[in-house]
């Protein structure tokens, strides 16, 4: 049952690509004012879950509420209140960041570009504003999507590997902005492979493997129930990878 303090409520979500079940009866929720980490090995179904949340992938069954609304019932209302950083964002390559951010801001009907300008300055991005996106490095492309996701002060941030390619300074700024965002009541759902970051930042973590949730809880709950001293250990145990890794390492000796 969805409650009003939930920014995301997922119940029994199933996503299927032909015969392959990418997400298998997944349920979780992200409370307002918290950061929820969605973790899992490659191909576990994290990106499919995120895409189903924002309506990019059709779900076979299950209930998905974003800011208490079904994504199919009012997608424009929901999309105007969320910020998204997709994994490997493919943007309009021939536009410059100036033109791209102008397009995003206009579609979001922002009153002005003050916030965007301060984000551009914060990420030291001014000098690239007239460089076409096709010519930007991966890290600079990521900065464009991060700025575009934050420019409208969204209630909910959905981030798929958000720190990909970012330099240390930008990661630090972005992490601080995320903490500030949650302390003012905003919610964050993010998927990452970097366990240290997830351990330090997430209030709650869900681990999925082959589309199925294998563990969920706060950091302390997970460490207690799965008997791991770090999130990395917890992750490897929950996804049954510890033994597999030992075998692989032995074979390499």
């Amino acid at each position: 049952m969805a409650s009003s303090d939930e920014a995301i409520h997922v119940e029994d979500l199933v996503v299927r690509y032909g015969a392959k079940v990418a997400v298998n009866h997944l349920s979780f929720s992200v409370r307002k004012g918290t950061i929820y980490g969605l973790l899992g090995p490659n191909g576990a179904g994290k990106t499919s879950t995120i895409r189903a949340l924002i309506g990019l992938t059709e779900r076979e069954s299950g209930k998905v509420l974003v800011l208490s609304k079904d994504i199919d019932s009012d997608p424009v209302w929901i999309k105007s209140r969320i910020g998204v950083v997709p994994e490997n964002p493919v943007l309009f390559d021939s536009l410059t960041p100036n033109e791209f951010l102008e397009l995003v801001a206009s579609l979001r009907r922002l009153p002005d570009m003050k916030k965007t300008k301060s984000l551009v300055t914060a990420f030291e991005f001014d000098e690239f504003m007239d460089t076409p996106i096709a010519s930007l490095s991966m890290g600079n492309r990521q900065k464009v999507t991060v700025i575009a996701a934050l420019m409208h002060d969204p209630e909910l941030l959905i981030l798929d590997e958000p720190f990909n390619g970012l330099d240390v300074r930008s990661v630090r700024i972005f992490k601080d902005l995320l903490v500030r965002h949650t302390s003012s009541g905003g919610a964050v759902l993010f998927s990452t492979h970097i366990m240290d970051v997830a351990e330090r930042m997430c209030n709650e973590v869900g681990i999925i493997d082959q589309g199925v949730k294998v563990a969920e809880g706060t950091m302390n709950q997970l460490k207690e129930s799965i008997h791991g001293s770090t999130l990395e250990e917890v992750f490897l145990k929950a996804t049954n990878m510890e033994k597999e890794i030992d075998d692989v390492l032995k074979a390499l000796e």
């Binding site: 690509y17 997709p86 570009m113």
Partner: protein, 513 residues
């Protein structure tokens, strides 16, 4: 023993080179096809993407081969313009498939990962890499070339050896020119890959003469050229008439310019092939600074469409075609108007406004296709269902309006008949109906997409239906124009048919889930 090893080593090397060429060719086909990725996600089924890409080459080759067959039939049964019709026809219809194929592959290769950089990491010298890149590019173009050559050789059975030889010489000449022309465009785009307005204008201006060339050849073909013996022997292209008639001197002269052009074409293509394998980079024309402003969503989308149109080689090629029509029609209208032997305004209308309208009706498709590259991000934005359709409508109608206005001005200048404005303006409704159909098509295509790319059959179905949406009101108009001989009644029916289409398509679009 040592010799055996050397032979085996050399064979192995040749085999591995051939394998590498095959891999690069497959990668080129794959990248060419997924350059317009729908979801931003790399398609999982590579084999399907490659086979779709190969089928699309047949889609280019077969219509042109069919035109060559028609030319052979014409040369055999209706020799209207002496022996020149056939070789000049071959010149045109072999130019286009090679040109289109190189542009298509270069677009894909430029948008793909850095194949060149991967090749550079392998233990091979520069010369080897260059050879592999050229071979892979040539291999990716083989379908249109093989189909054309097969048709031209079989022409020998129908037309006799001399006409066949003239056709083959024309094909070698035009294919080489196509390679030079497409290489020139690729190089210009790379050299002037900046966002400045001057670079944009230069890029467009470079494409115009190349497209003009192919259209002008059409005029040579359709005009009644009297060829003297001197021309038949010594003037390039014109002397193919002499070759067709079996003059040996004409053949030697034709070989003397065809062979160097073919060599130049090959060398330029070889140099460009390596360049094509690295991504196309645009550079900033000025020092960056923040100057984005908030606009209304529709205006922002229109601006973004225009910006992408002017920076993409594929789109610039597309949008310059109507303007070339305009230039040629204005020229024809004035020349025929002055000579007093010109065509009627109705005929001029049919040969110029209709093609311009038909081309404009496909603009929304190309715009949507360009948008697909950033679609996965675009779909996360709060975009109302009709805002994007609205912007595509405005851009297409503006595009049609600009070329239509120039054509109308030329007509009015020659004929003094203002009534032409009526059908020209009304055709904007037909173009709008096509935009609505395109929006509907993309709505369902995006929704049902599993592979992440547009399927071949899907594209063919779109093309046919779009031609029907445009062709239905257009054919009503043409039929009534032939009956009434003026613009008024046909225009009323044209408007009525287009409005009915708009209403039906708007209804379907509103109900689309």
């Amino acid at each position: 023993m040592q010799n055996d090893d050397l032979i085996t080593g050399s064979e192995e090397q040749t085999k591995s080179r051939a394998k590498l060429v095959e891999y690069v060719t497959r990668e080129l086909l794959y990248q060419g096809y997924v350059a317009s990725r729908l979801t931003g996600v790399t398609p999982a089924n590579m084999r399907r993407a490659i086979s779709s890409s190969t089928r699309s080459k047949y889609f280019i080759a077969i219509p042109f081969a069919f035109l060559l067959v028609l030319l052979i039939a014409e040369a055999k049964f209706l020799p209207l313009n002496g022996d020149l019709t056939y070789p000049v026809g071959v010149l045109i219809w072999t130019f286009m498939p090679s040109f289109i194929s190189v542009m298509q592959i270069s677009y894909g290769a430029s948008a793909g990962p850095q194949i060149r950089d991967t090749l550079l990491t392998l233990p091979m010298d520069d010369w080897d890499i260059r050879r592999i890149a050229t071979a892979a590019f040539a291999s990716s173009l083989r379908i249109p070339l093989i189909v054309s050559v097969a048709v031209l050789l079989s022409a020998g059975l129908v037309l006799g050896p001399w006409l066949m030889i003239s056709g083959i010489l024309a094909a070698i000449f035009s294919t080489s020119l196509a390679l030079i022309a497409s290489s020139a465009i690729v190089r210009v785009y790379r050299r002037l890959g900046t966002t400045s307005r001057i670079s944009t204008v230069v890029r467009i201006v470079t494409i115009i003469p190349i497209l003009m060339f192919s259209l002008l050849l059409g005029y040579i073909q359709s005009s009644k050229v009297n060829i003297s013996g001197y021309q038949a022997t010594y003037i390039p292209i014109m002397n193919l008439d002499g070759v067709a008639a079996g003059h040996l001197v004409s053949l030697f002269v034709a070989l003397s310019y065809t062979i160097p052009v073919a060599l130049i074409g090959y060398l330029i293509f070889r140099r460009t092939s390596l360049l094509l394998l690295s991504p196309l980079n645009y550079f900033s024309s000025k020092v960056g600074r923040f100057r984005a402003v908030v606009r209304t969503p529709t205006v922002a989308l229109i601006l973004s469409d225009f910006r992408q149109m002017l920076r993409s080689p594929r789109l610039v090629g597309f949008i310059t075609v109507p303007f070339i029509y305009v230039i040629i029609t204005i020229f024809t209208a004035f020349v025929s108007g002055r000579s007093g032997t010109g065509e009627s305004p109705q005929a001029l209308f049919l040969t110029s406004i209709l093609p311009v309208g038909a081309i404009s009706s496909f603009l929304a498709y190309v715009l949507y296709l360009t948008e697909l590259r950033g679609l996965s991000y675009f779909m996360t934005l709060p975009l109302g269902r009709f805002t994007n359709v609205e912007s595509k409508l405005i851009v297409s109608v503006l595009f049609y309006g600009a070329s239509g206005a120039l054509l109308s001005a030329a007509f009015i200048g020659v004929t003094g008949q203002f009534s032409i404005l009526l059908p020209v303006a009304t055709f904007a409704l037909t173009v709008s109906a096509c935009v609505l159909y395109t929006a509907l098509y993309f709505h369902y295509t995006v929704k049902s997409m599993a592979l992440g790319v547009l399927g071949f059959i899907n594209t063919v179905v779109y093309t046919i239906i779009n031609l029907i949406v445009f062709g239905l009101p257009a054919s009503i108009y043409i039929a009534l124009m032939l009956i009434y001989g003026n613009f008024v009644y046909p225009t009323i029916f044209l408007a009525a048919a287009s409005i009915v289409e708009i209403l039906i398509l708007s209804f379907l679009l509103m109900r689309a889930e």
